[in-house]
């Protein structure tokens, strides 16, 4: 009996230690029980709780449009901003807090009061914006995105284990752009923003030279990420990518703190699933340890271990659909040719009917 209790205690201690290092990240996908309450929208399928979307904007859409446009023409202001006011406010976006490296199986967790955490939202113009943590059965971050461009949301959790202070930085980079709002701004990518004042260690996704607001990662495409420590590139940081299908790859950053990752698609979708806008999610994990004597809650620690996470999505490669269409074309073409070939062959083998007449008289 004593032995069993002892083993259980040891097991629970080990389990708590393991959980302490379990990766925490921000996810765009809701838990199953909330799926009906959530609406995904926009080019990037960002999630929002339905009740937080002001429904008046849809019921009185035409009326409000006209009214806002009338006012803006009077005042000479941008009618887009006016329209939003008339609609009754912006949509509030949400990001769920999840634990575990597997995108499919990661649990939805809630942060208790004893957890040391901080949340920050930075606008595309590097301005701090309000963000709140909603607690319930699961926790999620809720915020508005009014400016066009990339928003950065951070959830930073500190947890000491042994002589190391573990800092889990969960980041999400969200692009706020809707073609319905027009393209009055140039379709060019905004510079990548990073904030050493919020987190010492950060991973940023480098923009493609041809990237604009309509850009989206696709499977088979290359993405470049850079690890930064206090704003400077870090060599040898371990970056692991996990995809929704379970593909996992770990790479180390080079001299410039950069890694190239290619999202692979190791399957061909069903024809029934043909959806060019289907988003496959991925999770990026980065580990970096610094030997540093620090004091945290009046206790000394000798190491800081940064665990950085970032999740985003990629779409199926367009070439996949081309492959499937060509497959079908070849299949149908060969079928038609084979049938025609057999038909012609059979027709040519048919011999015309010839009647043979025997003249008995001639025989005599």
């Amino acid at each position: 009996m004593k032995k069993t209790v002892f083993i259980l205690i040891i097991f629970s201690i080990v389990l708590t230690k393991v959980q302490a290092q379990e990766v925490i990240w921000l996810s765009n996908t809701p838990p199953d029980f909330m799926k009906k309450q959530v609406k995904s929208s926009g080019m990037h399928r960002w999630s929002a709780i339905k009740q937080d979307r002001n429904n008046n904007q849809y019921t009185n859409k035409k009326k409000n449009y006209k009214k806002s446009d009338k006012d803006s023409s009077k005042t000479g202001t941008n009618n887009k901003a006016n329209r939003r006011q008339y609609y009754g406010g912006s949509t509030k976006y949400v990001q769920w807090i999840r634990q575990g490296s597997s995108i499919k199986n990661a649990s939805y967790i809630c942060l208790d009061d004893s957890t040391d955490y901080s949340i920050t939202l930075m606008s595309p113009v590097s301005k701090k914006e309000p963000i709140e943590l909603i607690k319930g059965k699961t926790c999620y971050l809720k915020f508005e995105m009014n400016e066009e461009g990339y928003y950065n949301a951070y959830l930073i959790i500190k947890k000491p284990v042994g002589d190391t202070l573990y800092i889990n930085i969960a980041k999400t980079e969200l692009l706020n752009h809707s073609c319905r709002n027009g393209h009055h701004k140039k379709l060019e990518a905004r510079p990548v923003m990073h904030y050493p004042e919020i987190t010492d260690f950060e991973i940023i996704r480098k923009r493609h030279p041809y990237e604009d607001y309509h850009y989206f990662s696709v499977s088979g495409g290359d993405e470049k990420y850079q690890a930064l420590f206090k704003g400077k590139a870090v060599e040898g940081a371990k970056i692991t990518v996990n995809t929704q299908k379970g593909w996992r790859n770990t790479v180390l950053t080079d001299k410039n703190g950069e890694v190239d990752i290619q999202f692979i698609q190791d399957y061909f979708s069903n024809w029934q699933e043909l959806n060019r806008r289907k988003i496959h999610y991925y999770l990026l994990e980065a580990d970096y340890t610094v030997k540093q004597d620090i004091e945290y809650k009046a206790k000394p620690y000798h190491y800081i271990h940064y665990k950085f996470t970032m999740s985003d999505g990629y779409r199926p490669a367009r070439t996949m659909y081309t492959s499937m269409v060509w497959g079908l074309i070849v299949f149908l073409l060969v079928t038609i040719l084979s049938i025609s070939g057999i038909f012609i062959y059979k027709e040519r083998r048919k011999r015309p009917y010839k009647e043979l007449e025997f003249n008995e008289k001639l025989k005599d």
């Binding site: 073409l333 079928t335 084979s338």
Partner: protein, 345 residues
């Protein structure tokens, strides 16, 4: 006496009908079995295609291609043992049914039989190869077997200094119609594609699509069209002699009526012409037992398992199957009526 009656009952029975039901059950198991948590083995002597989501096992050919994609040094080390183990697994299954795996169990074979039934229903005529074409075409399956062994070996090693591209890693699976057609039965259309990764994959997957199309059309006009080119059939024939299930012929009893040749789906002429060989299982045979059913000579053709006779050709069985009456009834029906004879006298 009881034993003899039972044997008589078996010999007079309609094996084709039994085969029809076995094929349906086998097809269901090897296409949907996985959905019912059925797991058989991964080195089966039939096209239990792993590309089918519900497949409860795997075809031996996919396994052997993966295993042979290795260097010479690995091949002659512990990896070689793994290759031998998988061959042994294949043989453990094969030894019981011999080529009857093709005639009774293979889902791709069953599919061809169903297509034949559809053709009959629609009233189209079928085709047979002439003797010359038959002899020439039967070599193809051996060529495919050799290629599916050599190509994976040539990827990791070089033959005559020519390295083979990795895109040919499982060359036969890429052109096998089972990979494309069998998943369709589970609603999976994901195998209909051309892989544009590189030139090799474009060629191989295009060939796959072509073979699938030819398979469907060919099976419609020729019975068991694909079995004639199947490398699994060639592999079966190599090990056919060690199998417990056998088909033998007593040439002395054969009258060369040609019934066996006429009912043969593959069109093996030797089954009628060869009166010397005892073991009559040829490389294209699929042990469907149609020839035994059609043989009207007692014990001319026999099916036995480990020496125990299972199904023999009998005159009585032949008449029962083909005329629907027993031999005695048949003779009675064709005998002239005695009363009529008397009257005529």
């Amino acid at each position: 006496m009881q034993k003899l009656k039972f044997k008589q009952y078996i010999d007079n029975s309609n094996v084709s009908r039994f085969r029809f039901w076995v094929q349906i059950i086998s097809f269901f198991i090897f296409v949907y079995g996985g959905y019912f948590f059925i797991e058989i083995a991964s080195r089966l002597p039939i096209f239990s295609c792993p590309y089918v989501q519900g497949s409860p096992g795997g075809c031996y050919l996919i396994g052997v291609q993966h295993e042979l994609n290795t260097s010479w040094s690995s091949l002659f080390s512990f990896r070689g043992l793994a290759i031998l183990t998988s061959l042994a697994t294949f043989l453990v299954f094969f030894i019981f049914l011999n080529k009857a795996w093709c005639g009774f169990v293979c889902p791709l074979g069953t599919l061809q039989d169903w297509i034949t039934k559809l053709r009959k229903f629609l009233g189209f005529s079928f085709t047979r190869y002439d003797e010359m074409s038959f002899k020439k075409l039967k070599v193809i399956k051996y060529m495919l077997l050799v290629l599916l062994i050599l190509i994976p070996l040539g990827i990791r090693n070089t033959f005559f200094g020519i390295p083979l591209p990795h895109g040919m890693h499982t060359p036969f699976c890429q052109i096998c119609p089972a990979r494309i057609i069998l998943p369709l039965f589970t609603g999976d259309t994901s195998q209909i594609f051309i892989d544009f990764t590189d030139t090799t994959t474009i060629i191989m997957t295009s060939l796959g699509m072509m073979v699938a199309a030819i398979f469907l059309v060919g099976s419609f006009v020729k019975k068991r069209f694909f079995c004639f080119f199947c490398p699994m059939s060639a592999l079966h024939f190599i090990f056919s002699k060690i199998s417990l299930l056998r088909m033998t012929k007593d040439g002395d009893k054969c009258t060369r009526c040609g019934n066996c040749y006429r009912v043969c789906d593959v069109g093996i002429r030797e089954i009628a012409d060869d009166v010397i060989s005892k073991n009559i299982v040829k490389d294209d045979c699929m042990l469907c037992v149609k020839c035994v059913e059609a043989c009207p000579e007692d014990d001319c053709l026999k099916i036995s398992f480990a020496g125990i006779p299972l199904f023999n050709a009998t005159q009585e069985g032949f008449f029962k199957r083909y005329s629907g009456t027993s031999l005695t009834e048949y003779i009675k029906s064709i005998e002239p009526n005695k009363e009529q004879e008397d009257e005529s006298k």
